[in-house]
Symmetry: C2
Subunit: 284 residues, 2 copies
């Protein structure tokens, strides 16, 4: 049985801990700068990772905020045993890839990104079935030792994820569109309406389920998302620019009351419905 | 028992028909330019409204696309009997209010907007419980005859809605923020990602449930929404401008990597969570 260490026992790290305790019966060693006590009390971890036991771990999982991962990754690679598997579950991959590129134990490391989460965060938000049926993206797999890659895939199977491969540059570009941009659009929609609410009370009684759905991601944790946005800044700025361009085009077409053009755009965009149905089927 | 006529038997009109047939046992007379046959087959209406029976209706409900309502409203007011109640369920109110302002039967008319819907449309999308627990906004109620207002409220009670009052100008301004803007943000997010998908296949396997939720409204009907956007153009342009300003501010803050400011904005916007919870509780 693997000895498993997890850095960061929030929604993601905590859910991995619960799932692996359940499926592998593993003892979880954990370390959490912010919620150590809570994670212990909730049973997300059994013991604390200490300098003296770090070298005993077979698998070390990094689930801390994404901007802290490069530093932790290097420290863990320095200290882990020769055949330990180290992987992170951060939402951006290129900067981590770059940080560990020349480490002598680069082969011990795997870049992973499980596409799973909720708008809640912290140890209390963790639950063991979070990953079931979800997509997991692993990047630059040729850089990871074959036997350790196999070990990682075994763990992802235990989490019941569907694993796909991609290079880290493509990952960061695409995830900017299908995840980071939707968080920003949601946050800024929430902000725009809250700004108005300051002067006009009770407009929210007018809001329906459509508004709630569109703005749901604005509940997401600032502690998690500020670093993600900054780490993937270059790709997000491009995606955001395109989104703003589309909104400005829409504004112009509406201003001119060009109904046919407006209808054509909405009609073409309706195609997203098929994609949503697929995503929802994929997420059970 | 009321004789009820409904113009437009799509999602909204059709659902009203089903709900009133169930709760009042009413015979529904209907007229639908686009889906007459389907509405008859699905049992949303029992007979067709004809010139000779229009004057027999006690209640006439207008649920056609919002840009057609002013014209239909005037025709129906001209033809209805002296004590008929006429109300519409369109998503914008000011232009309709203006169109009927000087009609001798203005007192027969009520401006209503049930905040209910799904991303689906047409007669097949209709279901009898659509309105249960939902908010219904009625506007400029002092312009409607007291006894007919009472009749309308009785009908809204049968639909199990919570009715609130507002003037039509305030309605159109606020609904631009809490409904129309979220539809546009969703449509343009869908468009931005679809544009990218044209060149980069299969990015959607990377999308999770958060993306699906944010982009869900982009499934909405172009036939319904093009006229809504155009009818409420003035308010939407202002709301859209503020949204784009917020996105541009976000872009600048991200470009400068001002993490503290970014975190503050996200934190402040998290407050929307409480509001979403209320909306979701309100919508059962």
């Amino acid at each position: 049985m693997y000895k498993i260490g997890i850095y960061g026992l929030g929604l993601i790290g905590g859910s991995i801990a619960l799932a692996l305790k359940k499926s592998l019966g593993s003892r979880i060693y954990g370390l959490d700068k912010f919620h150590q006590k809570e994670a212990l009390e909730l049973g997300l971890m059994d013991s604390v990772i200490e300098e003296k036991n770090l070298s005993e771990m077979d698998v070390i999982i990094l689930a801390t905020p994404v901007d802290s991962i490069p530093k932790v990754a290097l420290q863990v690679l320095d200290a882990c045993k020769q055949d330990a598997l180290v992987f992170d579950v951060g939402s951006t991959k290129s900067k981590i890839a770059k940080a560990i590129k020349n480490h002598p134990k680069r082969g011990n490391y795997l870049l992973a990104h499980p596409i799973a989460g909720t708008e809640y965060s912290g140890p209390q938000a963790a639950f063991s079935t979070l990953f079931e049926g979800k997509i997991n993206i692993i990047c630059d797999v040729h850089e990871t030792d074959e036997s350790l890659l196999k070990r990682a895939k075994n763990i992802f199977n235990k989490l019941k994820m569907k694993t796909i491969e991609m290079n880290s540059t493509a990952h960061d570009k695409h995830i900017a569109y299908v995840s980071h941009l939707s968080h920003i659009s949601s946050f800024m929609l929430g902000k725009t309406v809250l700004d108005l609410e300051e002067n006009e009370k009770n407009i929210f009684q007018m809001a329906g389920s459509g508004f709630a759905s569109t703005v749901r991601l604005a509940k997401s944790s600032p502690q998690t998302w500020t670093p993600i946005f900054v780490e993937n800044k270059q790709n997000i700025l491009i995606a955001l620019e395109e989104y703003i361009d589309n909104l400005n085009d829409f504004k112009t077409i509406l201003y001119r009351e060009n109904k046919q053009k407006l209808k054509n755009i909405l009609q073409k965009t309706n195609h997203i419905g098929l994609i949503i149905d697929k995503i929802e089927a994929q997420n059970g």
